[in-house]
Symmetry: C2
Subunit: 212 residues, 2 copies
Amino acid sequence: MEQSNLYLSVDCVILGFEDAQLKALLIKRDKEPEKDKWSLPGAYVHTDENIDNAAKRILNELTGIHDVFLSQIGVFGEVNRYPEKRVVSILYCALISPELFELMAGSHAKEVAWKNLSEINVLPFDHNKMLNTSMQWLKNEIWRKPILQNLLPEKFPLNQMQELYQSLLQTTIDNRNFRKKVISQELVERLNEKTKGGQQRPAYLYKLKSPN
Amino acid sequence: MEQSNLYLSVDCVILGFEDAQLKALLIKRDKEPEKDKWSLPGAYVHTDENIDNAAKRILNELTGIHDVFLSQIGVFGEVNRYPEKRVVSILYCALISPELFELMAGSHAKEVAWKNLSEINVLPFDHNKMLNTSMQWLKNEIWRKPILQNLLPEKFPLNQMQELYQSLLQTTIDNRNFRKKVISQELVERLNEKTKGGQQRPAYLYKLKSPN
DNA sequence: TTCTTTTAACGTATTTTGTACGTTATATTA
DNA sequence: TAATATAACGTACAAAATACGTTAAAAGAA
C-alpha cells in the first residue's frame, strides 16, 4: 500500500455580524494538542461519512449551530500543519447572524464564543491562514445570494445590509449605488413594513429574495 | 481514534488543445479496480508529502508530463466514489499544448493518450464528474493569465488563440472584440514576426505577456 | 501581370455597468 | 410647530462590453 496513516479533518470558519462588528466563532479546546487554546471548530471526518455532512455534524457537535449553509472553500494539507500526525483538513465557511443561533459547547469544545476579528491574534496550527483564506473567499463571493442566507435577520432595513457589506469588504459604499445594486441584482425585495421605535424617519424593511 | 482507514488521492484533468480540438489526457489503468479501462491519471498521496507536490509527482510518474501549472480545483469525497476503500480525492487541473510535451506511460499506467473530449464517454469512478467540474472551473478562470502558460505554443497568431477560447467556452467570439480584450488586458504581446507558408495573408505572431 | 481567392487587420457607434455626488421627505422629541 | 436625525432617491459621467462591415496582404490561377 502506497499510503496509510493519513487523517482527514474538517475545520469551520463561521463568521458572524453583530453590532456592526465582524466576529468569528471559536472554541476552547478540551483536548491535546493545544488544550485550552481558542481555535477554529474542527474534527475528524468519519470513514463512512460524506465530507459535507461531516462538516455539518462537527459544527453542530462542537458549537450547537445547525442548518447553516456551509461552503467548502479549500484544502489545507501541508505536511506539518498538525503535530504528530498527518492531518489534511478541508475548510468550510459560513456567514451567520449570531443572534439567530444559540451556542452550546460540546464534544472536545470546553467553551464556544464569538470573538471580534480585531481581537483574534495567534490561533493554533494553520488556523490563522484558514481565517485569512476565508476572508479572501468572502470578498469574492459576497455578492452571490446563498451566502447571505443566515446573516441577516428575516426582515431588515437596507442600511443594515449596507453596513454589513461595508464591514465585510472593509470599504465605504455610496448608499444610492448600494441600493441600485442590490435591487437591480434582485438580491432583496421590499416589504410593506417599516422599522418602528427609532428616533427618526422609519426605514422600509426588506427581505432576501429567494434564488430562482 | 475517531477515524482511520481513509485514503487520500489526487486526480488530474489535463486538457490540451490541438487541431482546433479540445482533448483530455487519459491513462489506461494497469491495476485493479477498473483494470484496462481509460481513466484520469491519479494516485495516492504519500503520508509525508505535500498535496501540490503529490499532484506533480503523480502526473509525472503516470504520463511523463512535468513542469506544468496545476491548479487545485476541488475535493471529491463521496463515501462510495471508489470501491472497497474510502478514498477522498483532490482534483487538479491544467491546460497544456499537447505538442509541447512528450508522453511516457509509467507506474500503473499501461498507456497514456490524448482523447478528444467528444469521444470520451463513461469513465470509471466519479471521473466524469471531475471532468465536468474542470470544464466549469475553466470557463470561470480562463481569462486569468497563468492558466494559459502551457496551452499555446510560444509564438502564435491571434486567431489560433481565439479558436482556443471558442473551443473552451463553446461560443463564438467577435474577432475585433477578442483582439481588443486580449490586448487591453495585456494578455499578449505582438512580435515582429509573421506566419509563413500559409496560402493567404500572413498573420502577426504573438506571445503571452508574462504576469507582472 | 493582373485577377481571384483567402484570411488578417482594424474603428466606430451603442448598450450596459459602475461611479460620483446633493437634495428632499418623514418620522421623533423638545 | 420647530429642530433634529436619518431614509429615500435621480442624474450626469466614465468605463467596459457588445455589435457590426470594410480594407489589406499574401498565394495561386489565368
